[in-house]
């Protein structure tokens, strides 16, 4: 085909029109495609995108619920909430952060050594977020800042709720404390429910009843822009945002009587030890003392490493809950149980006298078991043996009973297992038996039970250990003549809105089997003898009520190798632990208790007087007479 290079205007016009038409068609198709796309986005998937846009612009700001109060049995506040004042800084409103911090150091509002860390925190915060730079301001700090406020644009004092313990250290080992939520805590809690909560219960009531105390956090929907800054409005439109009010946590009414608690702590002050007092009729904990203690407020405001180090390295171990976790040999306080075992198994005639010459030895053995302080009790019957705490009598009785019967009989009294107290954190003592020994030791020659070990058991030494709560529990079982109530610190919930009380029913763990009322009475009589004519006769004098008790003196066998202190200190710490258990009134007991004074010496001299003060505090009215039973 010959190449034609002539311009044909008519043909070109047609060609152009044709092309224009094709282009217009393509355009139309593209437009339709675009409209379909818009239809998909704006009609078909509208709800999906509407939700996304809502999620974009609305942020839930949690409103923390007020933590429930903790009250004693008379309604006195043990733990409450209090606003704390803190200094906060909004970075974008501060002209010169460095200079501002320097000025604050100058006015002693922040510490110079914190400046670097604060600058880092401020740098990493969003410019419009308020950064706390000083927690827990004192009234004086606030006043000092207030007069210079005009010099500090972008700084303000804000309040937040913190836990408040008006009585300081009082009852801290029952109460526990609240502290910052830790990694460990995060594993147990529902993070969504705790959004906005900064403190969580640690130990004691605060931890065991965390669920009730915490309440339900509310929220407030806040309009935010893309940077997360909360804004009042967008364009001309003020949006409708939802709010849910928080539900305050439940108040807890404890069975603890702060008056008794104070008396017990005051009586024990200056010593290491524990006091646990129970209502034997229902397991209510009347007082739970472990000394020394610590101020729980420290943890709520954020304890410093230094403060924690001081507490943790203290030789007296204030963080250690002796009442629930300290295990000690019970000493002679077990004698009533041994006596009951002897009576129940008909191993002993209560009226028959045995002769105490100050020592005991097993047939065919040269090892001599001595009387405490080498006393000679002479001829003693069961009643005397309890009242005067004759070791020789109980060496023989234990030997005659044998370890199997002893461990079987003592089990129901709560030896060797936790009492099940509602605040948890308990450690169990040891009730030795052949099976226990076979498991507890690794060397074959150590796994055999020796008859000599049974003899020690008779006076509460050897492998037998108890915690103060276990021993108080045991005292309350003796008091009720065999009825077992599980100890509990929290007696009722109170709805913070209606004030309605929901009492918690006491939990019964049954009864001690196979002990006749006469046998109970014999042993109780012996225990009354302890405070009238026996080892603790001094403390029973002039009591407005009858009561029963038993002293105990536990030998300290070893001192931990880590405790290397001067000779005077060590010798003090090698002294015997002093025990006393009691219940009163003896016929219709309302209170049973165990008192431990570490290294206090003999039970009668150290622990028993404390017990008497606690009994008086609980039982006597203002007139010094026994209060009528309520």
């Amino acid at each position: 085909m010959p190449a034609v290079h002539i311009k044909d205007h008519w043909r070109e016009q047609r060609l152009f029109d044709q092309r224009a038409l094709i282009c217009a068609t393509i355009m139309a198709v593209a437009t339709v495609g675009l409209i379909v796309r818009l239809f998909v986005l704006q009609v078909a998937r509208h709800e999906y995108y509407a939700e996304l846009s809502q999620g974009n612009r609305v942020r839930n700001e949690p409103i923390p619920a007020a933590r429930g109060l903790i009250l004693d049995r008379h309604g006195e506040v043990i733990a409450g909430n209090q606003p704390a004042y803190q200094l906060e800084l909004v970075p974008e409103e501060v002209p010169d952060v460095q200079q501002t911090l320097a000025r604050l150091v100058q006015f002693d509002l922040i510490r110079a050594e914190d400046v670097d860390e604060l600058e880092g925190t401020i740098d990493s915060s969003r410019s419009f977020d308020s950064v706390p730079i000083r927690l827990r301001m004192s009234d004086e700090d606030i006043a000092r800042f207030a007069v210079r406020r005009f010099e500090f644009p972008g700084l303000d004092i804000k309040t937040r709720q913190t836990r408040w313990y008006p009585n300081g250290e009082l009852a801290v080992h029952a109460l526990g404390y609240v502290g910052a939520i830790s990694e460990q805590d995060l594993k147990h809690i529902d993070r969504a429910a705790y959004a906005g909560t900064s403190l969580i219960g640690k130990l004691g009531v605060e931890s065991a009843y965390e669920g009730e105390l915490h309440g339900t956090n509310g929220f407030r929907e806040v309009l935010v822009n893309a940077q997360g800054r909360s804004v009042e409005r967008q364009g001309a439109f003020v949006p409708n945002l939802r709010t849910r009010a928080p539900g305050a946590g439940e108040d807890l009414l404890l069975s603890i009587d702060l008056k008794v608690q104070r008396t017990a702590e005051a009586a024990l002050t200056g010593h290491r030890g524990a006091v646990v007092a129970l209502d034997p009729n229902n397991g209510d904990v009347i007082a739970l003392v472990s000394l020394p203690g610590f101020d729980p407020t420290m943890f709520g405001r954020g304890i410093t490493a230094g403060e924690y180090g001081v507490l943790n390295n203290d030789i007296d171990r204030p963080l250690f809950n002796r009442a629930l976790r300290g295990t000690y040999p019970p000493g002679s306080t077990v004698k009533p149980a041994i006596a009951l075992a002897g009576l129940s198994y008909h191993v002993v005639d209560p009226l028959a006298h045995r002769y105490c010459a100050g020592s005991f030895h097993l047939p065919g053995s040269s090892f001599i078991y001595r009387e405490y302080h080498n006393e000679h009790h002479g001829a003693v019957d069961l009643d005397d043996a309890i009242a005067r705490s004759c070791d020789v009598y109980f060496y023989g009785l234990a030997n005659e009973l044998g370890v199997d019967r002893l461990s079987t009989f003592m089990g129901p009294f709560g030896f060797g297992k936790p009492t099940g107290i509602d605040i948890g954190g308990e450690k169990a003592g040891i009730l030795p038996s052949r099976e226990w020994k076979a498991k507890a030791f690794s060397r074959p020659q150590d796994r055999v039970w020796f008859p000599g070990e049974t003899v020690s058991l008779g006076i509460g030494q050897g492998y037998l250990t108890v915690t103060p709560i276990e021993l108080a529990h045991y005292a309350s079982i003796l008091a009720t003549r065999g009825k077992i109530w599980r100890p509990r610190v929290v007696a009722a919930y109170r709805d913070p809105r209606t004030g309605e009380l929901h009492r918690i029913a006491p939990v019964s763990d049954g009864e001690v089997p196979g002990v006749t009322p006469e046998d109970w009475q014999r042993v109780v009589h012996g225990m009354i003898g302890v405070v009238t004519r026996g080892t603790a006769a001094a403390i029973g004098a002039h009591a407005a009520y009858s009561f029963a008790g038993k002293t105990g003196t536990a030998q300290v066998f070893t001192v931990s190798r880590t405790e290397k202190y001067n000779a005077k200190l060590v010798s003090e710490r090698l002294r015997d632990h002093s025990w006393f258990i009691a219940f009163a009134p003896a016929d219709q007991p309302r209170i049973a208790l165990a008192v431990l004074e570490e290294n206090g010496g003999a039970g009668a001299s150290a622990a028993a007087p404390i017990a008497r003060k606690v009994l008086d505090a609980y039982l006597l009215g203002a007139d010094g007479k026994l209060k009528p039973q309520t």
Partner: protein, 379 residues
């Protein structure tokens, strides 16, 4: 003159005729002018909301529109023959300026795009959006159509030189638009279908080749287009947020200044490249359909005008200018709705900023000049 014959009777008719006479005297096409005016007015209303109620933005945009309108009015009166004769000079000058940009241009936002003349900064690539299609039309004006292979070769060089210079600034978006404007001239000139297919294959090869030369951020944009959810806070953020804006607008929209995505700044570049999404959020599907309708009307009218011109240069140039507007709209809308990758193409006449408004209106001025002088050309 045709308008004199219809002047009669009613007052309305007379007024209309009066307006028509003014338009005619200015050599302005009435329907096109109205269409463009409506788009600009719509754009200003949206921009007020999208800029966060910034009066300053509106004033600056109005000034640019004024400048563009003046350019349009002036160019509409220029003799097309003069325009055609000066085309090679304009093209050559543009290329020189582009080379200057590459060597001594002003650096902004990681790219060298502007020439700084002290008083104002000038983006020569904007000039080339007009100069390249003009040059192509000029080249084909005297030659028989459809163009043969030698012509296609020459045209390719004419297009690719400025495109290459713009692409290395780097401004791939504008380079692509310049290439599109030039290519449209060739297509309208009657490029054979099989040649088109061959070129498409070439383009695909070119794309593959281009990928290997792309900057990281450009590659990222392409990848992001393919899967925006892969990095929701990074590169895919724009697309996700603009789709949320449009989708949440629904049929009727959230209302003027009530678009939470736009007002709370979740939508990036809300007053510039992504203003289409603001319209979708605040005025809904109906608002977008109205906008598309206006664009289609303007483009349709412009194509009609192109078919009415009588010489090759005018026809090809007018057609290319008309279609280019649609390409802009489609690329922008496609990008904002997630149909196309994110390329920095503003929504013509609506997006805030840049000299593109002036260029566009100037282009329509040229188109009107080509149309109004059709008889002169023909005679």
């Amino acid at each position: 003159m045709i308008y004199e014959d219809v002047s009669s009777g009613s007052r309305t008719r007379r007024t209309l005729t009066g307006a028509a006479r003014v338009l005619s005297a200015l050599q302005i096409d009435g329907p096109l002018m109205v269409g463009l005016g409506l788009i600009c007015a719509y754009g200003l209303i949206v921009l007020y909301s999208a800029s966060g109620q910034s009066i300053a933005t509106i004033v600056r945009t109005a000034l640019r529109l004024l400048l563009g309108t003046i350019a349009m009015l002036v160019l509409a009166r220029v003799n097309p023959n003069f325009l055609r004769r000066s085309t090679p000079w304009l093209y050559a000058g543009g290329c020189v300026l582009l080379m200057l940009v590459v060597t001594i241009g002003h650096v902004g936002m990681g790219a060298r795009r502007w020439l700084n003349f002290g008083l104002f900064r000038f983006q020569p690539s904007e000039l080339m959006k007009l100069a390249v299609p003009m040059m192509c039309a000029w080249y084909l004006h005297e030659r028989p159509l459809p163009p043969g292979w030698p012509s296609l070769g020459a045209l390719s060089v004419l297009i690719l030189v400025p495109v290459g210079l713009v692409a290395i600034q780097p401004d791939v978006g504008t380079a692509a638009l310049i290439a599109v404007a030039g290519s449209l001239v060739i297509i309208l000139a009657g490029l054979r279908v099989r040649v088109m297919v061959a070129l498409l294959v070439l383009a695909a090869l070119g794309a593959w080749f281009g990928w290997s030369f792309m900057h990281d951020y450009q590659r990222k944009r392409v990848l992001m287009f393919l899967n925006p959810q892969a990095d929701p806070l990074g590169a895919g953020y724009h697309i996700i947020q603009s789709q949320i804006a449009i989708g949440s607008g629904g049929v009727f929209g959230k209302g003027w200044m009530n678009g939470s995505q736009a007002q709370l700044e979740f939508l990036p570049e809300r007053s510039t490249d992504f203003i289409f999404a603001v319209i979708g959020e605040e005025f809904g599907l109906l608002g977008l359909l109205l906008l598309l309708l206006l664009y289609v009307f303007v483009v349709g009218r412009a194509i009609y005008l192109a078919t009415q011109t009588q010489d090759t240069f005018a026809r090809l140039l007018a057609g290319s200018l008309a279609l280019t507007l649609f390409v802009y709209v489609f690329i922008n809308a496609g990008m904002v709705t997630g149909l196309l990758p994110v390329v920095g193409v503003p929504l013509p006449l609506v997006s805030y900023g840049g000299s593109s408004v002036v260029t566009l209106l100037a282009g329509f001025g040229i188109l009107m000049a080509l149309y109004s002088r059709r008889k002169l050309v023909g005679s």
